[in-house]
Protein backbone atom coordinates (compact mmCIF):
# COMPACT_ATOMS: atom_id res chain seq x y z
CA UNK A 1 0.00 0.00 0.00
CA UNK A 2 2.97 2.32 -0.50
CA UNK A 3 0.96 4.33 -3.02
CA UNK A 4 -1.39 5.38 -0.19
CA UNK A 5 1.61 6.12 2.01
CA UNK A 6 2.43 8.87 -0.49
CA UNK A 7 -0.96 10.50 0.02
CA UNK A 8 -0.76 10.77 3.81
CA UNK A 9 -0.05 14.14 5.35
CA UNK A 10 2.96 14.66 7.59
CA UNK A 11 3.36 17.88 9.51
CA UNK A 12 6.07 20.11 8.13
CA UNK A 13 7.14 23.71 8.21
CA UNK A 14 8.57 24.44 4.77
CA UNK A 15 7.64 27.16 2.28
CA UNK A 16 5.66 24.59 0.30
CA UNK A 17 3.70 23.53 3.40
CA UNK A 18 2.87 27.16 4.11
CA UNK A 19 1.47 27.89 0.66
CA UNK A 20 -2.28 28.34 0.43
CA UNK A 21 -3.78 24.91 -0.33
CA UNK A 22 -5.78 26.40 -3.19
CA UNK A 23 -2.61 27.55 -4.90
CA UNK A 24 -1.03 24.15 -4.41
CA UNK A 25 -4.11 22.50 -5.82
CA UNK A 26 -4.02 24.77 -8.85
CA UNK A 27 -0.35 23.97 -9.45
CA UNK A 28 -1.17 20.27 -9.35
CA UNK A 29 -4.00 20.85 -11.81
CA UNK A 30 -1.77 22.81 -14.19
CA UNK A 31 0.81 20.03 -14.09
CA UNK A 32 -1.94 17.60 -14.86
CA UNK A 33 -2.99 19.66 -17.89
CA UNK A 34 0.58 19.75 -19.16
CA UNK A 35 0.85 16.02 -18.75
CA UNK A 36 -2.30 15.63 -20.81
CA UNK A 37 -1.21 18.11 -23.47
CA UNK A 38 2.34 17.02 -24.13
CA UNK A 39 3.80 13.76 -25.23
CA UNK A 40 7.26 15.15 -25.89
CA UNK A 41 9.78 13.40 -23.74
CA UNK A 42 11.88 16.42 -22.84
CA UNK A 43 8.87 18.33 -21.47
CA UNK A 44 7.73 15.36 -19.45
CA UNK A 45 11.19 14.96 -18.02
CA UNK A 46 11.25 18.67 -17.17
CA UNK A 47 7.96 18.29 -15.32
CA UNK A 48 9.44 15.48 -13.27
CA UNK A 49 12.44 17.65 -12.45
CA UNK A 50 10.14 20.48 -11.33
CA UNK A 51 8.25 18.06 -9.12
CA UNK A 52 11.45 16.69 -7.68
CA UNK A 53 12.53 20.22 -6.86
CA UNK A 54 9.22 20.90 -5.11
CA UNK A 55 9.46 17.63 -3.17
CA UNK A 56 12.98 18.58 -2.16
CA UNK A 57 11.90 22.06 -1.04
CA UNK A 58 9.09 20.47 1.03
CA UNK A 59 11.47 17.84 2.47
CA UNK A 60 9.20 15.00 1.40
CA UNK A 61 11.45 13.42 -1.22
CA UNK A 62 11.46 10.00 0.39
CA UNK A 63 7.70 9.77 0.67
CA UNK A 64 7.26 11.23 -2.77
CA UNK A 65 9.55 8.52 -4.16
CA UNK A 66 7.41 5.98 -2.34
CA UNK A 67 4.38 7.11 -4.33
CA UNK A 68 6.34 6.74 -7.53
CA UNK A 69 7.46 3.29 -6.48
CA UNK A 70 3.89 2.43 -5.51
CA UNK A 71 2.54 3.54 -8.88
CA UNK A 72 4.96 1.35 -10.87
CA UNK A 73 2.73 -1.76 -10.94
CA UNK A 74 -0.09 0.40 -12.27
CA UNK A 75 2.23 1.95 -14.84
CA UNK A 76 3.40 -1.49 -15.98
CA UNK A 77 -0.22 -2.49 -16.42
CA UNK A 78 -0.97 0.63 -18.51
CA UNK A 79 2.16 -0.03 -20.55
CA UNK A 80 1.17 -3.63 -21.24
CA UNK A 81 -2.43 -2.86 -22.15
CA UNK A 82 -1.46 -0.04 -24.48
CA UNK A 83 1.22 -2.09 -26.18
CA UNK A 84 -1.31 -4.84 -26.82
CA UNK A 85 -3.83 -2.28 -28.03
CA UNK A 86 -1.36 -0.58 -30.40
CA UNK A 87 -0.16 -3.87 -31.78
CA UNK A 88 -3.61 -5.35 -32.34
CA UNK A 89 -5.00 -2.18 -33.93
CA UNK A 90 -1.83 -1.45 -35.84
CA UNK A 91 -1.76 2.23 -34.80
CA UNK A 92 1.98 2.46 -35.06
CA UNK A 93 4.19 1.13 -37.76
CA UNK A 94 7.25 -0.09 -35.90
CA UNK A 95 7.71 -1.94 -32.66
CA UNK A 96 9.99 0.85 -31.51
CA UNK A 97 7.17 3.35 -31.89
CA UNK A 98 4.74 1.08 -30.05
CA UNK A 99 7.11 0.77 -27.14
CA UNK A 100 7.85 4.50 -27.09
CA UNK A 101 4.21 5.54 -27.05
CA UNK A 102 3.20 2.94 -24.48
CA UNK A 103 6.05 4.01 -22.25
CA UNK A 104 5.06 7.66 -22.53
CA UNK A 105 1.51 6.86 -21.47
CA UNK A 106 2.70 4.85 -18.49
CA UNK A 107 5.13 7.60 -17.54
CA UNK A 108 2.39 10.23 -17.72
CA UNK A 109 0.34 8.22 -15.29
CA UNK A 110 3.25 8.20 -12.85
CA UNK A 111 3.65 11.96 -13.27
CA UNK A 112 -0.02 12.48 -12.64
CA UNK A 113 0.05 10.53 -9.37
CA UNK A 114 3.29 12.03 -8.14
CA UNK A 115 2.06 15.58 -8.72
CA UNK A 116 -0.96 14.95 -6.49
CA UNK A 117 1.22 13.19 -3.99
CA UNK A 118 3.10 16.45 -3.40
CA UNK A 119 -0.21 18.20 -2.81
CA UNK A 120 -1.42 15.65 -0.26
CA UNK A 121 1.97 15.28 1.43
CA UNK A 122 2.15 18.98 2.18
CA UNK A 123 -1.48 19.90 2.86
CA UNK A 124 -3.26 19.07 6.11
CA UNK A 125 -6.65 17.40 5.78
CA UNK A 126 -7.92 20.37 7.79
CA UNK A 127 -6.71 22.71 5.03
CA UNK A 128 -8.37 20.53 2.43
CA UNK A 129 -11.55 20.91 4.46
CA UNK A 130 -11.13 24.68 4.52
CA UNK A 131 -10.55 24.64 0.78
CA UNK A 132 -13.79 22.75 0.26
CA UNK A 133 -15.59 25.26 2.50
CA UNK A 134 -14.13 28.21 0.60
CA UNK A 135 -15.51 26.67 -2.59
CA UNK A 136 -18.95 26.66 -0.92
CA UNK A 137 -19.18 22.90 -0.75
CA UNK A 138 -21.94 22.22 1.86
CA UNK A 139 -20.38 21.60 5.30
CA UNK A 140 -21.79 18.07 5.80
CA UNK A 141 -19.60 16.88 2.89
CA UNK A 142 -16.53 18.54 4.31
CA UNK A 143 -17.36 17.03 7.70
CA UNK A 144 -17.70 13.58 6.14
CA UNK A 145 -14.30 14.01 4.48
CA UNK A 146 -12.59 15.06 7.71
CA UNK A 147 -14.24 12.33 9.78
CA UNK A 148 -13.15 9.71 7.28
CA UNK A 149 -9.56 10.80 7.80
CA UNK A 150 -10.00 11.12 11.55
CA UNK A 151 -11.47 7.65 12.05
CA UNK A 152 -9.54 5.57 9.53
CA UNK A 153 -6.60 4.90 11.87
CA UNK A 154 -8.97 4.13 14.76
CA UNK A 155 -10.87 1.58 12.71
CA UNK A 156 -7.63 0.07 11.45
CA UNK A 157 -6.57 -0.44 15.08
CA UNK A 158 -9.96 -1.94 15.85
CA UNK A 159 -9.53 -4.39 12.99
CA UNK A 160 -6.18 -5.50 14.43
CA UNK A 161 -7.74 -5.95 17.88
CA UNK A 162 -10.57 -8.05 16.48
CA UNK A 163 -8.16 -10.24 14.53
CA UNK A 164 -6.10 -10.79 17.68
CA UNK A 165 -9.20 -11.67 19.70
CA UNK A 166 -10.44 -14.16 17.10
CA UNK A 167 -7.05 -15.77 16.54
CA UNK A 168 -6.88 -16.24 20.31
CA UNK A 169 -9.90 -18.51 20.10
CA UNK A 170 -8.32 -20.79 17.56
CA UNK A 171 -9.38 -19.25 14.23
CA UNK A 172 -6.52 -19.67 11.79
CA UNK A 173 -7.08 -16.81 9.41
CA UNK A 174 -4.35 -17.70 6.95
CA UNK A 175 -5.12 -21.39 6.51
CA UNK A 176 -7.39 -23.22 4.05
CA UNK A 177 -8.59 -22.68 0.50
CA UNK A 178 -10.15 -19.48 -0.86
CA UNK A 179 -13.68 -20.52 0.15
CA UNK A 180 -12.64 -21.38 3.71
CA UNK A 181 -10.74 -18.16 3.99
CA UNK A 182 -13.74 -16.18 2.81
CA UNK A 183 -15.80 -17.88 5.51
CA UNK A 184 -13.27 -16.82 8.10
CA UNK A 185 -13.95 -13.20 7.27
CA UNK A 186 -17.34 -13.45 9.00
CA UNK A 187 -15.92 -13.50 12.55
CA UNK A 188 -13.87 -10.42 11.64
CA UNK A 189 -16.47 -8.42 9.76
CA UNK A 190 -19.42 -8.91 12.09
CA UNK A 191 -17.71 -7.44 15.18
CA UNK A 192 -16.20 -4.70 13.03
CA UNK A 193 -19.63 -3.75 11.75
CA UNK A 194 -21.21 -3.97 15.20
CA UNK A 195 -18.48 -1.71 16.60
CA UNK A 196 -18.91 0.74 13.72
CA UNK A 197 -22.65 0.97 14.34
CA UNK A 198 -22.18 1.60 18.04
CA UNK A 199 -19.55 4.19 17.30
CA UNK A 200 -21.81 5.90 14.77
CA UNK A 201 -24.51 6.19 17.41
CA UNK A 202 -22.15 7.67 19.97
CA UNK A 203 -20.76 10.11 17.43
CA UNK A 204 -24.25 11.20 16.47
CA UNK A 205 -25.05 11.87 20.13
CA UNK A 206 -21.89 13.91 20.57
CA UNK A 207 -22.62 15.86 17.36
CA UNK A 208 -26.07 16.60 18.70
CA UNK A 209 -24.76 18.06 21.98
CA UNK A 210 -22.27 20.10 19.99
CA UNK A 211 -25.06 21.77 18.06
CA UNK A 212 -24.24 20.20 14.69
CA UNK A 213 -26.43 21.75 12.00
CA UNK A 214 -27.75 24.49 14.31
CA UNK A 215 -27.36 27.15 11.65
CA UNK A 216 -26.75 27.31 7.92
CA UNK A 217 -24.32 30.18 8.46
CA UNK A 218 -21.61 28.14 10.05
CA UNK A 219 -18.50 30.09 11.00
CA UNK A 220 -15.00 28.74 11.30
CA UNK A 221 -12.07 29.25 13.63
CA UNK A 222 -9.55 29.33 10.82
CA UNK A 223 -9.89 30.91 7.43
CA UNK A 224 -7.78 30.58 4.32
CA UNK A 225 -6.11 33.84 3.42
CA UNK A 226 -4.07 34.48 0.30
CA UNK A 227 -0.81 36.18 1.20
CA UNK A 228 1.74 37.85 -1.02
CA UNK A 229 3.80 34.67 -1.31
CA UNK A 230 0.68 32.82 -2.46
CA UNK A 231 0.02 35.44 -5.15
CA UNK A 232 3.66 35.24 -6.18
CA UNK A 233 3.53 31.46 -6.50
CA UNK A 234 0.30 31.76 -8.43
CA UNK A 235 1.80 34.31 -10.80
CA UNK A 236 4.91 32.24 -11.45
CA UNK A 237 3.05 29.05 -12.16
CA UNK A 238 0.46 30.74 -14.37
CA UNK A 239 3.18 32.48 -16.38
CA UNK A 240 5.05 29.24 -16.90
CA UNK A 241 1.88 27.53 -17.91
CA UNK A 242 0.93 30.29 -20.39
CA UNK A 243 4.37 30.08 -21.94
CA UNK A 244 3.92 26.37 -22.35
CA UNK A 245 0.48 26.88 -23.88
CA UNK A 246 1.81 29.49 -26.27
CA UNK A 247 4.63 27.33 -27.43
CA UNK A 248 2.30 24.39 -27.91
CA UNK A 249 -0.17 26.39 -30.00
CA UNK A 250 2.16 28.55 -32.08
CA UNK A 251 5.69 27.25 -32.01
CA UNK A 252 5.59 23.49 -32.14
Amino acid sequence: MSILEGLKFYAGDTAIHKLDPRVKFLVSMLMLLMVVMYTEAWILVTLMVVQAAMAYAAKVVRRWLKTIKGSIPLAVLVFGLNAIFFITTGTHATLQEVLYHSATLAYRLVLFLSSFSIFFLTTTPEEIGLTLTSWRIPYPYTFAFISAIRFTPIIAQELRDIMDAQRSRGIELDKGGPLQRAKKLVPILVPLLANALRRAYELAEAMEVKCFGATKNRTSLRELKMRSRDYAALLVSLTLFSLAMYSRLFLL
Binding site: E202, M207, C211, T219, S220
Partner: protein
Protein backbone atom coordinates in the same frame (compact mmCIF):
# COMPACT_ATOMS: atom_id res chain seq x y z
CA UNK B 1 -31.93 29.62 41.94
CA UNK B 2 -33.03 26.28 40.66
CA UNK B 3 -31.16 24.80 37.70
CA UNK B 4 -33.00 21.49 37.39
CA UNK B 5 -36.57 20.53 38.18
CA UNK B 6 -37.77 17.03 37.32
CA UNK B 7 -41.33 15.96 38.18
CA UNK B 8 -42.69 12.47 37.81
CA UNK B 9 -40.31 11.58 34.96
CA UNK B 10 -40.79 8.15 33.41
CA UNK B 11 -39.17 7.18 30.12
CA UNK B 12 -39.35 3.97 28.11
CA UNK B 13 -37.13 3.61 25.01
CA UNK B 14 -39.08 2.59 21.94
CA UNK B 15 -38.70 -1.14 21.43
CA UNK B 16 -38.37 -1.76 25.16
CA UNK B 17 -41.10 -2.66 27.61
CA UNK B 18 -39.41 -1.77 30.87
CA UNK B 19 -39.04 1.93 31.65
CA UNK B 20 -35.39 3.01 31.87
CA UNK B 21 -36.24 5.61 34.50
CA UNK B 22 -39.43 5.66 36.54
CA UNK B 23 -41.10 8.38 38.52
CA UNK B 24 -38.04 10.53 39.06
CA UNK B 25 -38.50 13.65 41.17
CA UNK B 26 -35.49 15.87 41.56
CA UNK B 27 -34.54 19.48 42.04
CA UNK B 28 -31.06 20.85 41.93
CA UNK B 29 -29.83 24.26 43.07
CA UNK B 30 -27.55 26.32 40.88
CA UNK B 31 -23.90 25.61 41.64
CA UNK B 32 -24.56 22.23 43.22
CA UNK B 33 -22.08 19.37 42.60
CA UNK B 34 -23.87 16.05 42.42
CA UNK B 35 -22.46 12.53 42.22
CA UNK B 36 -24.83 10.09 40.55
CA UNK B 37 -24.18 6.49 41.59
CA UNK B 38 -25.68 3.16 40.66
CA UNK B 39 -24.79 -0.04 38.83
CA UNK B 40 -24.48 -0.12 35.03
CA UNK B 41 -27.91 -0.01 33.45
CA UNK B 42 -29.62 1.61 36.45
CA UNK B 43 -30.79 4.63 34.45
CA UNK B 44 -27.99 7.13 35.08
CA UNK B 45 -27.32 7.76 31.40
CA UNK B 46 -31.02 7.95 30.63
CA UNK B 47 -31.52 10.59 33.32
CA UNK B 48 -28.63 12.65 31.91
CA UNK B 49 -30.07 12.39 28.41
CA UNK B 50 -33.42 13.63 29.72
CA UNK B 51 -31.70 16.69 31.17
CA UNK B 52 -30.04 17.84 27.96
CA UNK B 53 -32.83 17.00 25.55
CA UNK B 54 -31.23 14.00 23.81
CA UNK B 55 -34.41 12.48 25.19
CA UNK B 56 -36.94 13.03 23.60
CA UNK B 57 -35.30 14.77 20.60
CA UNK B 58 -32.66 12.17 19.68
CA UNK B 59 -33.92 8.99 21.35
CA UNK B 60 -37.49 8.00 20.60
CA UNK B 61 -39.71 6.56 23.29
CA UNK B 62 -42.56 7.21 25.67
CA UNK B 63 -41.96 10.11 28.05
CA UNK B 64 -44.12 11.18 30.96
CA UNK B 65 -43.56 13.91 33.49
CA UNK B 66 -41.88 17.25 33.30
CA UNK B 67 -38.23 18.25 32.95
CA UNK B 68 -37.24 21.91 33.28
CA UNK B 69 -33.57 22.82 32.99
CA UNK B 70 -32.25 26.39 33.29
CA UNK B 71 -35.83 27.57 32.98
CA UNK B 72 -36.51 25.69 29.74
CA UNK B 73 -38.92 22.83 29.19
CA UNK B 74 -36.70 20.25 27.47
CA UNK B 75 -39.48 18.72 25.41
CA UNK B 76 -40.21 22.11 23.83
CA UNK B 77 -36.64 23.33 23.33
CA UNK B 78 -34.43 22.11 20.47
CA UNK B 79 -31.22 20.34 21.51
CA UNK B 80 -28.91 22.94 20.03
CA UNK B 81 -30.48 25.62 22.22
CA UNK B 82 -30.41 23.42 25.32
CA UNK B 83 -26.80 22.44 24.61
CA UNK B 84 -25.71 26.03 25.16
CA UNK B 85 -26.97 25.80 28.72
CA UNK B 86 -26.47 22.11 29.47
CA UNK B 87 -23.21 20.54 28.32
CA UNK B 88 -22.57 16.83 28.28
CA UNK B 89 -19.33 14.84 28.27
CA UNK B 90 -19.56 11.16 27.37
CA UNK B 91 -17.73 8.00 28.40
CA UNK B 92 -15.57 7.22 25.37
CA UNK B 93 -13.24 10.15 24.63
CA UNK B 94 -12.40 9.30 21.04
CA UNK B 95 -16.04 9.24 19.98
CA UNK B 96 -16.60 12.87 20.90
CA UNK B 97 -13.77 14.36 18.89
CA UNK B 98 -14.24 14.97 15.18
CA UNK B 99 -11.45 17.22 14.05
CA UNK B 100 -7.81 16.80 13.21
CA UNK B 101 -6.51 19.35 15.66
CA UNK B 102 -7.38 19.99 19.29
CA UNK B 103 -8.25 23.66 18.79
CA UNK B 104 -10.65 22.83 15.98
CA UNK B 105 -12.40 20.36 18.22
CA UNK B 106 -12.78 22.93 20.96
CA UNK B 107 -14.16 25.38 18.39
CA UNK B 108 -16.49 22.81 16.80
CA UNK B 109 -19.73 23.57 18.67
CA UNK B 110 -19.15 27.34 18.45
CA UNK B 111 -18.63 27.09 14.69
CA UNK B 112 -21.83 25.09 14.38
CA UNK B 113 -23.68 27.90 16.14
CA UNK B 114 -22.31 30.49 13.74
CA UNK B 115 -20.56 32.52 16.43
CA UNK B 116 -18.21 35.24 15.05
CA UNK B 117 -14.57 34.24 14.63
CA UNK B 118 -13.13 36.64 17.23
CA UNK B 119 -15.50 35.37 19.87
CA UNK B 120 -14.66 31.75 18.95
CA UNK B 121 -10.97 32.51 19.33
CA UNK B 122 -11.53 34.05 22.73
CA UNK B 123 -13.60 31.14 23.97
CA UNK B 124 -11.21 28.51 22.61
CA UNK B 125 -8.34 30.22 24.46
CA UNK B 126 -10.43 30.38 27.59
CA UNK B 127 -11.45 26.71 27.48
CA UNK B 128 -7.97 25.41 26.69
CA UNK B 129 -6.56 27.43 29.59
CA UNK B 130 -9.31 26.40 32.02
CA UNK B 131 -8.60 22.73 31.35
CA UNK B 132 -4.84 23.27 31.25
CA UNK B 133 -4.17 21.87 27.77
CA UNK B 134 -2.94 24.94 25.90
CA UNK B 135 0.17 23.07 24.83
CA UNK B 136 -1.94 20.44 23.04
CA UNK B 137 -3.58 23.06 20.83
CA UNK B 138 -2.09 22.05 17.50
CA UNK B 139 -1.94 18.32 18.12
CA UNK B 140 -4.18 15.75 16.50
CA UNK B 141 -6.62 14.00 18.87
CA UNK B 142 -5.41 10.72 17.42
CA UNK B 143 -1.92 11.14 18.95
CA UNK B 144 -3.26 11.91 22.43
CA UNK B 145 -3.75 9.54 25.35
CA UNK B 146 -7.28 8.72 26.51
CA UNK B 147 -6.96 11.11 29.44
CA UNK B 148 -5.79 13.98 27.22
CA UNK B 149 -8.59 13.27 24.76
CA UNK B 150 -11.14 13.44 27.56
CA UNK B 151 -9.72 16.81 28.60
CA UNK B 152 -10.17 18.05 25.04
CA UNK B 153 -13.77 16.79 25.14
CA UNK B 154 -14.32 18.71 28.39
CA UNK B 155 -12.79 21.88 26.91
CA UNK B 156 -15.00 21.56 23.82
CA UNK B 157 -18.08 21.62 26.04
CA UNK B 158 -16.72 24.28 28.40
CA UNK B 159 -16.26 26.58 25.40
CA UNK B 160 -20.07 26.71 25.21
CA UNK B 161 -20.02 28.11 28.76
CA UNK B 162 -22.97 26.04 29.95
CA UNK B 163 -24.64 26.60 33.33
CA UNK B 164 -24.95 22.87 33.94
CA UNK B 165 -22.46 20.21 32.93
CA UNK B 166 -23.30 16.52 32.80
CA UNK B 167 -20.56 13.88 32.85
CA UNK B 168 -21.61 10.37 31.94
CA UNK B 169 -18.91 8.06 33.38
CA UNK B 170 -16.12 10.34 32.16
CA UNK B 171 -13.28 8.25 33.60
CA UNK B 172 -14.47 4.70 33.15
CA UNK B 173 -12.15 3.99 30.22
CA UNK B 174 -9.17 5.80 31.75
CA UNK B 175 -6.27 4.67 33.91
CA UNK B 176 -6.30 5.86 37.56
CA UNK B 177 -3.83 8.71 37.14
CA UNK B 178 -5.70 10.19 34.16
CA UNK B 179 -8.98 9.58 35.96
CA UNK B 180 -7.75 11.59 38.91
CA UNK B 181 -6.67 14.51 36.72
CA UNK B 182 -10.03 14.51 34.91
CA UNK B 183 -11.87 14.54 38.25
CA UNK B 184 -9.63 17.39 39.43
CA UNK B 185 -10.53 19.39 36.32
CA UNK B 186 -14.23 18.80 36.92
CA UNK B 187 -14.04 20.06 40.48
CA UNK B 188 -11.92 23.06 39.47
CA UNK B 189 -14.54 24.03 36.85
CA UNK B 190 -17.15 24.03 39.54
CA UNK B 191 -14.90 26.03 41.90
CA UNK B 192 -13.83 28.66 39.37
CA UNK B 193 -17.00 29.20 37.38
CA UNK B 194 -19.70 28.05 39.79
CA UNK B 195 -21.00 25.64 37.15
CA UNK B 196 -23.63 23.18 38.37
CA UNK B 197 -22.35 19.66 37.84
CA UNK B 198 -23.74 16.14 37.72
CA UNK B 199 -21.19 13.32 37.43
CA UNK B 200 -22.26 9.72 36.93
CA UNK B 201 -19.24 7.73 38.12
CA UNK B 202 -18.09 4.51 39.75
CA UNK B 203 -14.89 5.88 41.23
CA UNK B 204 -16.20 7.06 44.60
CA UNK B 205 -12.69 7.24 46.07
CA UNK B 206 -11.91 10.18 43.81
CA UNK B 207 -15.14 12.11 44.27
CA UNK B 208 -16.60 11.41 47.71
CA UNK B 209 -14.94 14.37 49.45
CA UNK B 210 -15.56 16.83 46.60
CA UNK B 211 -19.31 16.63 45.96
CA UNK B 212 -22.18 18.31 47.82
CA UNK B 213 -24.71 15.61 47.23
CA UNK B 214 -24.91 11.93 46.29
CA UNK B 215 -27.87 10.44 44.42
CA UNK B 216 -28.10 6.66 44.18
CA UNK B 217 -30.18 5.01 41.48
CA UNK B 218 -31.29 1.46 41.08
CA UNK B 219 -33.48 -0.08 38.39
CA UNK B 220 -34.57 3.31 37.12
CA UNK B 221 -35.49 4.88 40.46
CA UNK B 222 -33.72 7.14 42.90
CA UNK B 223 -33.25 5.11 46.09
CA UNK B 224 -31.07 7.48 48.05
CA UNK B 225 -30.38 11.20 47.93
CA UNK B 226 -28.39 13.20 50.46
CA UNK B 227 -25.06 14.56 51.67
CA UNK B 228 -22.16 12.18 50.95
CA UNK B 229 -21.57 11.49 54.64
CA UNK B 230 -25.17 10.52 55.24
CA UNK B 231 -25.42 8.40 52.12
CA UNK B 232 -22.17 6.47 52.56
CA UNK B 233 -22.67 5.93 56.26
CA UNK B 234 -26.30 4.89 56.21
CA UNK B 235 -25.79 1.35 54.97
CA UNK B 236 -23.61 -1.02 53.01
CA UNK B 237 -24.19 -0.34 49.34
CA UNK B 238 -22.27 -3.25 47.93
CA UNK B 239 -25.41 -5.34 47.30
CA UNK B 240 -26.66 -2.61 44.95
CA UNK B 241 -23.38 -2.44 43.11
CA UNK B 242 -22.59 0.94 44.62
CA UNK B 243 -19.14 1.13 46.11
CA UNK B 244 -18.29 2.81 49.40
CA UNK B 245 -14.92 4.60 49.64
CA UNK B 246 -12.38 2.43 51.45
CA UNK B 247 -11.82 5.10 54.12
CA UNK B 248 -15.50 4.90 55.05
CA UNK B 249 -15.30 1.11 55.45
CA UNK B 250 -12.14 1.52 57.54
CA UNK B 251 -13.71 4.17 59.79
CA UNK B 252 -16.81 2.04 60.30
CA UNK B 253 -14.63 -0.94 61.16
CA UNK B 254 -12.64 1.05 63.70
CA UNK B 255 -15.79 2.53 65.22
CA UNK B 256 -17.11 -0.97 65.94
CA UNK B 257 -14.24 -1.40 68.42
CA UNK B 258 -13.47 2.14 69.53
CA UNK B 259 -15.58 5.24 69.12
CA UNK B 260 -12.97 7.22 67.14
CA UNK B 261 -14.95 8.91 64.35
CA UNK B 262 -17.94 11.09 65.16
CA UNK B 263 -17.74 12.59 61.72
CA UNK B 264 -17.36 10.12 58.83
CA UNK B 265 -14.12 10.69 56.87
CA UNK B 266 -14.40 10.79 53.06
CA UNK B 267 -10.71 11.00 52.21
CA UNK B 268 -7.37 9.83 53.63
CA UNK B 269 -6.82 13.44 54.87
CA UNK B 270 -10.07 13.42 56.85
CA UNK B 271 -9.28 9.96 58.20
CA UNK B 272 -5.94 11.20 59.46
CA UNK B 273 -7.58 14.20 61.10
CA UNK B 274 -10.09 11.90 62.79
CA UNK B 275 -7.39 9.71 64.31
CA UNK B 276 -5.22 12.63 65.43
CA UNK B 277 -8.24 14.44 66.86
CA UNK B 278 -9.19 11.35 68.83
CA UNK B 279 -5.73 11.00 70.34
CA UNK B 280 -5.57 14.71 71.11
CA UNK B 281 -8.92 14.63 72.91
CA UNK B 282 -7.69 11.68 74.94
CA UNK B 283 -4.66 13.64 76.08
CA UNK B 284 -6.86 16.47 77.28
Amino acid sequence: MEIVRVEGLTFTYSGSEVPAVKDINLTMKEGEFVLLLGPSGCGKSTLCRCLNGLIPHFYAGKMDGKVVVAGMDVTKTPTYVLSQHVGMVFQIPENQLFSLTVENDVAFALENLGIPRDEIKRRVDFALRAVGIEELRGRSPFELSGGQQQKVAIASILALMPKLMLFDEPTSSLDPVSAKSVVDIISSIRKEFGTSIIVAEHRVELLADKVDRVIVMQEGSIIKDGKPKEVFVSEEFTPYGVPVPKVVSMAKGVNRHLRVFNDMPLSPEEFEQGIRGFLYDKVR
